[in-house]
């Protein structure tokens, strides 16, 4: 999703915004996923503004209205309303550090909650979303200014109360102090007066040399709550009088329930309130979820037939293997994604050339918290939702369409998520909240819909299955003189935002292949769109999650064909890129010096692989060490040097890189959501293995702050891991793996 800062996206979003309020029309239940509708939903409607600011108000500049972000309690504690959803990435703590630094209030005194929908919170290039590794880098300046503005207001309020000049006042961790008279006032005493003052736009920011909280490895605000079971996730929410609902979805996406053979019997089961047909699903509402689930599993459902064949829909014979074959077989001419020099001429004179095909499978998010939503219609006509989401305004707008309300009549709560990794964007049939709304309407009661793990694996939106074909020409020194890449498939930006962005090349399908730092003079990359019939998703690091594996694996093939060491070749191709060379040196140093191997390591032979990546405005260099056990790769150590420009909380950065690297290991070794006969083959963790403790490598992280513009952190540890591992496997065994996961291949222990 680096593509959200792509000029075309920003321009398109800007156009939609200045065009005024978009008509968010009510569409069919499954038809609401169209990109235009989703982007239209990002717009503050006239009504919402009127409610927030009074009829004459203009839209606030996002991130400037202190009262929308800060509540100061009488005891001087602060509640920060965050534009972002916390789901493990640590953004709440980071924001408390940033705001606390400028406000002069210790971050530990903050509680941080995700703010309700509203135009104040559109701080990501004028939009609001939690994703794309955007949160800190997009809001850093705005949130500093917000803290500084609030501090200034405290000082001005204190000047009036103490009847002294402003410039005689200073602040000291939550107090305004008048040193001359020895008097002071706590922020808690001042808040009521201060927060109604007009913010001063020209307020001074703190000199970074005097930072006390920013750049410190502070502990997470939520660490104790999360270690004692006290954090309340969406699944833990409850409201008075609510019914619990369990659902069963059609095995073939797009088919419908036609008849229920035993509805009366199921209605008579213990605790059952009612039985429902929903678009693409059946549901039972009951007085407990376990009873609802037992009842819904007992339903005898006749489903409509899927189409017999084809890849336009999830047909009766749809398979991931068939889809991959279709991507490979495409003959359509590609649209240029990047072009430089003259590849045809370079290939004409080249010896040798290298060719390869790479692919990567569908992947589930498999976040540990299954999705749920509570919907409640209130007496005043509003609809209240407790809903996992990464874009509150979009969920609000779409929910209002489903419920037949105006957006401002929908109240959205965005609780802390039990992991997300891209799971909780708006993915049409992959979100449970529409079902909760329909069931609350049908029953006249608040309803909590919870998807069982099996329903989640069935309905989760997946990282798209991907394919690229590579060709390279080498010059006489074994250097690549030309590279050609042809990518066939579809990315989530095109699927979910395509109607507005209208860029022919889907950036989320080609990121990681284009805009590489390497000095290869002739390049020709093309993209062919071939849509998947399945629900596709953003998945931690998006296009980088497969494309960096493809590209960096192929770069090692080039090195091999030219008789070059892969590390040395990269260094040479980066000769004009000091930032990248530094990073490559840093990771070599972190790992004790580059050595490819194979070499003896006491308990057998090992080898190392290296890879670089440029995801989300940051740079990474990764080295992995592997051995082979029983025909499978064992990863011992991963070293990652990461340069996000500059950081707010180095401890959280390290944690995030560790976590993303672990997910990269998981995807490299184990993961694949396969389709056979039009249905998903895995419905729980037993059939969709994810990384367990025994396969977890040691992960070593070094942060390099080059001072470049701040890049993303949450996803950037991932993309280098699959290629570094695969390159290490090739160094050790001579087997070049071009299709993930590795568990499909039998590796030789040579």
């Amino acid at each position: 999703m680096s593509s959200f800062d792509h000029p075309s996206f920003t321009a398109a979003a800007g156009l939609v915004r200045t065009a005024g309020v978009t008509n968010v029309s009510r569409r069919g239940f499954l038809g609401f996923g169209a990109g235009a509708l989703v982007l239209g939903a990002l717009l503050p409607s006239g009504g919402a503004l009127a409610r927030a600011e009074g009829p004459a108000a203009v839209a606030p500049r996002p991130g400037t209205r202190v009262a929308a972000f800060l509540e100061i309690g009488p005891d001087g504690s602060a509640r920060l309303l965050s534009p972002f959803v916390e789901g493990g990435q640590g953004i709440s703590t980071g924001l408390a550090q940033i705001v606390g630094e400028e406000l002069d209030l210790h971050p530990a005194r903050f509680t941080v909650d995700c703010a309700p929908p509203g135009p104040d919170y559109a701080v990501v290039n004028g939009l609001r979303l939690t994703g794309g590794s955007f949160s800190t880098r997009s809001s850093y300046g705005v949130m500093r200014r917000l803290g500084a503005t609030a501090r200034d207001m405290m000082i001005r309020a204190a000047a009036v109360r103490l009847n002294v000049r402003r410039d005689e006042l200073a602040t000291e961790d939550g107090r305004v102090v008048h040193a001359k008279s020895g008097r002071s006032l706590g922020y808690g005493d001042l808040a009521a007066d201060a927060l109604v003052l007009k913010p001063d736009e020209a307020v001074q920011l703190r000199d970074p040399a005097t930072f006390r909280y920013i750049r410190q490895p502070m502990g997470r605000l939520d660490a104790r709550a999360k270690s004692t079971g006290k954090t309340v996730y969406p699944i833990d929410q409850k409201v008075d009088g609510m019914l619990y609902a369990a659902v069963r979805h059609a095995g073939h996406l797009g088919t419908e329930p036609l008849a229920l053979g035993n509805e009366p019997e199921v209605r008579g089961m213990p605790g059952v309130h009612s039985v429902h047909r929903l678009p693409g699903a059946v549901a039972v509402a009951a007085d407990s979820w376990f009873r609802a689930r037992k009842a819904v599993e007992a339903l005898d459902v006749t489903w409509s037939e899927p189409r017999p064949t084809g890849i336009d829909t999830v047909a009766a014979d749809y398979s991931s293997g068939g889809m991959l074959a279709a991507l490979k077989a495409s003959k359509e001419a590609g649209i240029p994604a990047e072009k430089d020099g003259d590849t045809a001429a370079a290939f004409a004179g080249a010896a040798p050339t290298v060719e390869a095909e790479y692919d990567a499978p569908y992947l589930a998010h498999a976040q540990l918290e299954p999705p749920s939503t509570i919907a409640r219609f209130n007496a005043d006509g509003t609809l209240e939702l407790w809903v996992p989401n990464q874009m509150p305004e979009v969920f609000q707008a779409v929910a209002s369409g489903i419920a037949g309300l105006r957006p401002e009549q929908v109240i959205v709560h965005s609780p802390t998520l039990g992991g997300f990794f891209g799971r909780h964007f708006m993915y049409a049939p992959a979100n449970p909240f529409p079902q909760a709304i329909l069931l609350a309407q049908a029953t006249g009661r608040p309803v909590k819909v919870l998807w069982s793990r099996e329903e989640e694996f069935l309905m989760d939106a997946v990282r798209p299955l991907s394919f690229s074909r590579f060709r390279a020409a080498l010059d006489g020194r074994g250097q690549p003189s030309a590279v050609e890449v042809r990518t066939v498939g579809e990315g989530p930006i095109g699927r979910w935002f395509g109607e507005v962005i209208k860029s022919p090349v889907d950036s989320s399908a080609v990121e990681g292949l284009v805009e590489k730092p390497y000095a290869i003079p002739n390049r020709s990359f093309s993209f062919v769109k071939l849509a998947h019939p399945v629900t596709i998703a953003f998945w931690r690091s998006v296009g980088h999650s497969m494309n960096d594996f493809f590209y960096e694996g192929f770069l090692d093939e080039i090195a091999e064909a030219g008789g070059r060491d892969p590390f040395e070749l990269r260094m040479e191709l980066l000769k004009d890129r000091p930032r990248h060379r530094d990073l490559l040196s840093a990771v070599a140093d972190l790992s004790g010096g580059w050595r490819r191997g194979p070499y003896e390591a006491g308990d057998g032979r090992r080898a190392r692989g290296v890879a670089m990546a440029s995801p989300f405005g940051s740079e990474t260099a990764t080295i992995a060490e592997v051995s082979i056990e029983n025909g499978q790769a064992r990863i011992h150590d991963i070293w990652i040097a990461v340069d996000p420009g500059s950081v707010v909380n180095p401890a959280i950065v390290v944690s995030q890189v560790e976590s993303a690297a672990a997910l990269g290991v998981s995807a490299t070794l184990f993961e694949e959501m396969a389709y056979e006969g039009g249905t998903r083959q895995a419905r729980n963790y037993d059939a969709y293995p994810i990384l367990t403790r025994d396969a977890m490598p040691r992960i070593h992280v070094r942060i390099v702050e080059s001072g470049a513009p701040m890049g993303g952190v949450g996803e950037v540890g991932l993309p280098g891991v699959p290629p570094a591992v695969v390159n290490a496997v090739a160094a050790l065994t001579g087997q070049r793996i071009r299709s993930l996961p590795l568990s499909k291949a039998r590796l030789s222990g040579v």
């Binding site: 502990g219 660490a223 004692t228 079971g229 409850k238 998981s666 963790y685």
Partner: protein, 148 residues
Amino acid sequence: MTEITVNGRIHEVAVEPETPLLWVLRDTLGMTGTKYGCGIGQCGACTVMIDGQATRSCQVPVESLGAAKVVTIDAIEDDEVGRRVVDAWVSVQVAQCGYCQSGQVMAATALLKGNPRPTDRDIADAMTGLCRCGTYNRIAEAVRLAAG
């Protein structure tokens, strides 16, 4: 009516006898610290202690409990070992999304109550809960820290 003992208190619950303890805790007793992840004994998010043993509560029909004593994450800080484990979890900054950590903390507490000086092998054998955020190395470090 079934009687069960949770965190030192006896509760009467009106549920089918085969109802898993997990759902009795969460939906009947409103004790949502114990998490649902998979429902098939794979992930460990639902781990509680039953008579001191780490047990996946999604696999325990409430009728099978009898007089056994259930301890959940909600009461973890009432237990001396549990408090040490939680402190170690905070000090090592284990949690990311945190969803698996109720189960991890319960598994660690049960391990250390039975085996105050676990080897790395003991830790690996006892700490088998899934963590999608990949916090496994810090979990092991926190268990070692809590063992002292």
